[in-house]
Symmetry: C2
Subunit: 442 residues, 2 copies
Amino acid sequence: MIKVAKFGGSSLADAEHFRKVKAIITADPDRHYVVDSAPGKRYKEDTKVTDLLILAYSNRHDAKEFDKVFKKIENRFNEIIVDLELDFSLDEEFKKIREDFPKDPGIDYAVSRGEYLNGLLLAYYLGFDFIDPTEVIRIDAHGNYDSYRTDPLLRNALSSHEYVVIPGFYGYKNDHSHTIQAFSRGGSDVTGSIVAKCGHANLYENWTDVNGFLVTDPRIVDDPESIRIITYKELRELSYMGASVLHENSIFPVRSQGIPINIKNTNDPSDPGTLIVETTAHKPEHVITGIAGKKGFATITIEKDMMNAEIGFGRKVLQVFEEEGLSFEHMPSGIDTMTIVVDQNEFIKHEQSILAGLHRAVDPDHIELESDIGLIAVVGRGMKDGHGNAARIFKALADANINVKMIDQGSSELNIIIGVRNHYFNRAIKAIYDEFILREDE
Amino acid sequence: MIKVAKFGGSSLADAEHFRKVKAIITADPDRHYVVDSAPGKRYKEDTKVTDLLILAYSNRHDAKEFDKVFKKIENRFNEIIVDLELDFSLDEEFKKIREDFPKDPGIDYAVSRGEYLNGLLLAYYLGFDFIDPTEVIRIDAHGNYDSYRTDPLLRNALSSHEYVVIPGFYGYKNDHSHTIQAFSRGGSDVTGSIVAKCGHANLYENWTDVNGFLVTDPRIVDDPESIRIITYKELRELSYMGASVLHENSIFPVRSQGIPINIKNTNDPSDPGTLIVETTAHKPEHVITGIAGKKGFATITIEKDMMNAEIGFGRKVLQVFEEEGLSFEHMPSGIDTMTIVVDQNEFIKHEQSILAGLHRAVDPDHIELESDIGLIAVVGRGMKDGHGNAARIFKALADANINVKMIDQGSSELNIIIGVRNHYFNRAIKAIYDEFILREDE
């Protein structure tokens, strides 16, 4: 069995975390390939090494200021080396980077040095081989992974090393120019995902500082439970509605190979974390997998007698929004009424021309606007077979005295979308969390 | 106070009903204007006088057959006269009609004779004046009420009679040809409504053989309660979803004048029946006013990653349906999915070209079809302010083990639309009825 372990910046921020990472790696000989990030924040006000590198690069022609910033970077690494009592030095590397910066090697070169240096250090500390991603990873000018050029190089390199550290986030540009190019989005997560794919891994472990994805936003619900198993589809739905999760780019390479992703906590490695899978027969722990939401929507409700009999009515309405360049989120309808849910800030800019357009296009009897609507998505593969989930959601909201402005649930779906006034938003998420998570745990 | 009382065919089918009608009219001196229908069925297998007239007219050039049918018509009226022991005869009228029919006076003349004869009889029996609608009602060639020509004539005639019977259903064509023209839709109900308008009535009583409109279909729920007060808007919503109610044409003249309609039962005149109003501050007896529904819908669910970000996606989808001449009922959406609800029979004819059109228009990741879906509308002005109505609906459905396929509720609405499989349709309506009507009555 082969596992790829990618560690985030906070998991490699200091010597203490390096020790935790080593304990994790040595505990499981299946963890063959390690992808590192640059040292992250050690405390809330700390500065990430990557941000120090950006600052140093912007001062590259101001020797004094540059030296001041770069010393901070050197200190971050040297502290770790000293604290771990390693017979290892990055001084030669520092010297080369100090010389390179004033030669304008490009911002991607600059910011990637954090991953590079940390990778060298981690490889030494773990006793693993080191592969520089410039040898094996090719990225196009837009920052996208070039699988055609990368995969043979990376497969070949991985097959000749048993245990390897590869820095995340960068590679060479795919134009033979030997310039360093970073991923535009997803950073080290993408590298981990590509290594898992080309290393034919059975599992891609993504080590962070949380016990996986949370059922809902911890700013709304105190200490929410984490999700044990989530499908890619559920993940997309939650992320679309505002949950911050892995970037699409970092998921694609492993998803295409059917390799599960395990989000784990470096500070609590015994916690199972969240397993992201294509599909699963595992009965979910809870009927719902997650609750996410976004505030700031407006609704435009159009009333017109016999609108349903008017072929093209809905199309004409949507065309008005399209001509103003607005996309719509939902379009629930009743009898002779149709509600268009749109981003409020976008809508406000076009309000009067959309209203005029609607009058011209469909001659409505009445148009009603409502703003400050929050949309909440209740997502869960467990909802598919169960009866009574809608009842539980609406009972929980009713008991919390929350008026539901909009309900939308299509056929064959794993989610229900609910619209409430913005000021009910947090209370509504809490009520649903309590009903589906806390009550089920009782 | 002035009331218009329109009596349906079953309310004037025989002498027994004539006596009931007389008791109703004499009980309230406000009932100044009476609009009659032709005698209806006395028992299930009976033939309405109107249908006998159609039969007679189709045999108008076959003297023997015509005589056989026309005798039946005469007998219907003569039985009533004899039974009521009236010193009154329609023989002169019968003779004239017998002579007119072979001269091809038009089908509208023929079918309207039932209302005409019954009006003469009823006026005599009640001691009311009689106004022939040919003197006061003008109808265009499409069968629509010509208010411009009718209103001055009718207002004038009514102001010179205190108590009047006016036959429903017909008038003269509005072209000075003096030919008889019937209303294309709504029949005697339209006449009653026009008389109420031009007679400046305070109430339009529509006397039938039921205690007003029922909360739901009696073929689904045994002996459902009747609705006490319903707004025009609620009525429209229920009728759209399959409840059989007054035709739009018959409502318009009174609605435009703010005159309420009272649906009453000739066989149970003390029952308050259903009052139809423009708007009301009356707290409804129940949170919901009615439940109606239709079976036979199909759903087309389109999945595509990031569809919400694609401006014009919804418009393109609807355009495919529009180009095939199909109207859609609803369009609930989730995240990356959109469901189009359409009439199943209509859809089947266009299925393959719509699927091909969708693939061309929006290149979906996946399309799923589902058929045999029933839509249920739960309608009620009482739902607007109340919390927890959705909860009650979905709890009732869950307790009845009914899986909800689709939910649709827009902003500022008085109804929730629910989609269930056809075979759950009746059970779902029963469950909602029990929860909102029976349980509230307990």
